[in-house]
């Protein structure tokens, strides 16, 4: 079916070339980083995980979001999702490839990455992360491909594929739960040491993934003559809305626990993220604008998805609302959650983090790679749909 990706109009090729440029720049920047070391990034002894791992954490959520399409369609027989489910599965593939790439570029010794398998340590959450991420990637490739092939041949998919489809559902929940467990099991980081991290991750994932799918579906309606249907988009908007509200509720609970209990370990990071933290006469607040934007964009997004006109009658405003929510959740999870955990450090000192240009270009290049893969996969899926409609 790959030949479907080789035929496209000039906008298609221009888009791929645009993404390819960023990928090439990123490759060059990565060579620089590989030769010098991770010192080319903005990470430091205190903030030892930065942009790469924060993008990884967010994208695992986006990948898990695909389950919000698979679950209603395959388990609850919600036929309205018939055309959109493949978008969710292929998004999961693309997001997972981005996740794995972000991990690889973040490693200090990437040539040794197979040590995780050769010298496995089952007590480490990274071990399980590796298993579930790769497992879910394999499941999505298998299910997406087999079912799309069956659709193309206009037959029912083989019975055995449903085992893997159903398996992908707990896997989707597990990839983000395991990623959350990376953080919430560490005794030294008070900001992360909370049972609500996993539910918060899942809520945020079930909002962010479908939000991206809605935006892409709206774009595809315009550029690729592929309409998933108003009912599907509306149902997705409902899911996104509830998930985003749940996420904000959980964030609110974190605020309550921190400020009502007045325990410094819980308060300090939230103070740093949302208000600025005063320490030794200096106010540290470089992430405050981002976190305030998170709240603002959340309100805007929720409003746009709640008001009937913007949600149902206007593709533009629906897309805008979903974009606002997507960016808002990216700020919350990518910037706020991961970077916040390192401030203050275990000795109550503060080091702030600023990514370097090299680091930003590598991150952009990996995002570009993800969208590149997504474009090609969607081109194949849409090509098949058009073929069988003809």
């Amino acid at each position: 079916m790959f030949e479907k990706a080789l035929k496209g109009n000039k906008y298609y090729w221009m888009w791929l070339a645009f993404l390819g440029t960023f990928m090439a720049i990123a490759a060059f920047c990565y060579v620089r980083q590989f030769n010098y070391g991770l010192g080319l990034t903005g990470m430091s002894r205190d903030v030892s995980w930065g942009l790469y791992i924060s993008q990884f954490t967010f994208l695992v959520g986006v990948a898990a979001g695909g389950v919000m399409l698979v679950l209603p369609y395959y388990v609850h027989n919600y036929k309205a999702f018939g055309r959109i489910t493949i978008l969710g599965e292929f998004l999961a593939i693309s997001a997972l490839l981005m996740c794995l790439s972000f991990i690889v570029v973040d490693l200090g010794q990437p040539m040794r990455m197979l040590n995780v398998i050769l010298h496995a340590q089952p007590r480490s959450m990274l071990f399980y992360d590796m298993i579930v991420l790769n497992g879910y990637l394999f499941l999505n490739i298998l299910c997406g491909w087999v079912i799309l092939t069956a659709e193309r041949k206009e037959v029912k998919p083989p019975k055995w594929i449903y085992f893997f489809v159903y398996l992908s559902i707990p896997f989707a929940v597990s990839i983000h739960t395991v990623t959350a467990m990376l953080y919430c099991g560490l005794p030294g980081r008070h900001f992360w040491l909370s049972a609500i991290v996993a539910p918060r991750f899942l809520a945020s994932a079930f909002a962010a993934g479908p939000a991206l799918i809605v935006v892409v579906a709206l774009i595809l309606k315009r550029v690729a003559n592929f309409d998933v249907g108003k009912k599907a988009l509306d149902k997705l908007a409902t899911i996104i809305l509830y998930a985003a509200l749940t996420n904000m509720f959980f964030v609110g609970l974190e605020f309550f626990v921190a400020y009502y209990s007045n325990i410094p370990g819980h308060i300090h990071t939230i103070e740093y993220l949302f208000f600025g933290l005063e320490h030794d006469g200096h106010v540290y607040n470089n992430l405050v604008p981002f976190m305030r934007m998170f709240v603002l964009l959340f309100v805007v997004g929720v409003a746009l998805l709640s008001i009937p006109y913007t949600r149902r009658q206007s593709d533009f405003w629906l897309g805008a609302g979903c974009t606002a929510l997507f960016i808002s959740l990216w700020l919350d999870k990518g910037i706020g959650f991961v970077l916040g955990g390192f401030v203050p450090n275990p000795l109550n000192e503060i080091t702030e983090y600023y990514p370097t240009a090299n680091e930003i270009f590598i991150a952009l290049g990996i995002w570009a790679m993800g969208f590149f893969v997504l474009t090609i996969l969607y081109k194949i899926a849409i090509g098949v749909e058009h073929e069988i409609e003809a």
């Binding site: 010098y36 070391g37 991770l38 010192g39 990034t41 903005g42 990470m43 430091s44 002894r45 205190d46 030892s48 995980w49 395959y74 388990v75 609850h76 027989n77 991990i103 973040d106 490693l107 200090g108 010794q109 990437p110 040794r112 990455m113 040590n115 995780v116 050769l118 010298h119 496995a120 340590q121 089952p122 007590r123 480490s124 959450m125 990274l126 071990f127 399980y128 590796m130 449903y162 085992f163 159903y166 398996l167 559902i169 707990p170 597990s174 990376l182 953080y183 560490l186 005794p187 030294g188 980081r189 955990g341 390192f342 450090n345 275990p346 000795l347 109550n348 000192e349 080091t351």
Partner: protein, 293 residues
């Protein structure tokens, strides 16, 4: 008719799904606990002894020559620990400088001007930074003025060892939390896990921060891309010597080192005779470093 058939089909599929989901969830919840039991061979509450590095088959004991008894409750093997007498060190800041310098020189720890790339195995810090769980309200003059020496605590239940996906950091048979630089993939999960901030990463080639004409030629440097930290001078202790920091203290006895599992050792005596505190006791890590304040 077909609608009904469709629903029955769907019910059956839903039932199958719930069966698979239930089984997977049980496996997922129970799995790590089962693996934990198998790997450590003991129940978690009793996992106090210094485990040998190689994987312990379930039911087997550690590979130490010292103890012969199979008793699960008594600690087996050596468990090295340290007592830092802050009363003595506070009066001699030059000694603290000497200690830091000696450790870093012995182990070829590089020095970089950019704080971002900093690597340190042992260093001086203020009381409220070393002991954030202790009150620093209305502290006495000496505590406010003096520094504290902090280093890796070589915990008995190290979160970094649990976090490492490749066993590159592990507890050796003497209770030292050791690093295997050959295996480290540089994921820095151990740095996130450490509640004490003891670990440093080689963000660049460490030799750029060393004067290669004045290094210790009997000890390697590290390479870029691996995590490092204090190793309780395992290479000296293995030959019966004291760690460098303890040696530098000499007769002042500002730092005492010994086997915590040996009831007749000097360090146990010091611990019996003096009130000591530890860093972040609520983290449950059971550090091996004690401080006399």
């Amino acid at each position: 008719m077909s609608r009904e058939g469709g629903y029955i089909q769907m019910d059956k599929k839903r039932r199958d799904f719930l069966k698979i989901a239930g089984a997977t969830t049980l496996a997922g919840l129970g799995g790590p606990a089962v693996v934990e039991r198998l790997v450590t061979g003991t129940s978690p509450a009793q996992a106090r002894a210094g485990h040998g590095e190689h994987p312990v088959a379930h039911g087997a004991k550690t590979h130490t020559a010292a103890s012969g008894h199979e008793d699960n409750n008594a600690p087996t093997g050596r468990r090295l620990g340290m007592v830092v007498d802050l009363r003595k060190l506070r009066k001699q800041p030059e000694l603290m400088e000497k200690i830091v310098h000696a450790c870093h020189a012995e182990h070829n720890v590089p020095h970089f001007p950019n704080k971002k790339d900093e690597i340190k195995w042992i260093w001086r810090t203020k009381f409220e930074n070393a002991f954030p769980e202790h009150s620093d309200y209305y502290k006495d003059k000496l505590t406010i003025a003096g520094d504290v020496l902090v280093l890796c605590n070589h915990c008995d239940e190290p979160p970094c060892v649990k976090a490492c996906p490749t066993r590159a950091t592990f507890k050796n048979k003497d209770g030292i939390v050791a690093m295997d630089y050959h295996r480290c993939i540089g994921c820095r999960f151990c740095m996130a896990a450490c509640p004490y901030g003891s670990r440093s990463f080689n963000w660049r080639d460490p030799r750029a921060g060393l004067d290669m004409n004045h290094i210790n030629h009997r000890f390697p440097t590290r390479m870029r891309g691996v995590v490092e930290k204090c190793n309780f001078c395992a290479e000296r202790v293995g030959l019966g010597k004291q760690p460098k920091c303890v040696e530098v203290c000499g007769s002042t006895k500002a730092m005492i080192f010994g086997d915590l599992n040996d009831p007749d050792s000097e360090i146990r005596q010091v611990l019996k005779d003096n009130f000591t505190i530890q860093r972040k006791p609520s983290a449950g890590t059971h550090p091996s470093v004690f401080y006399i304040v």
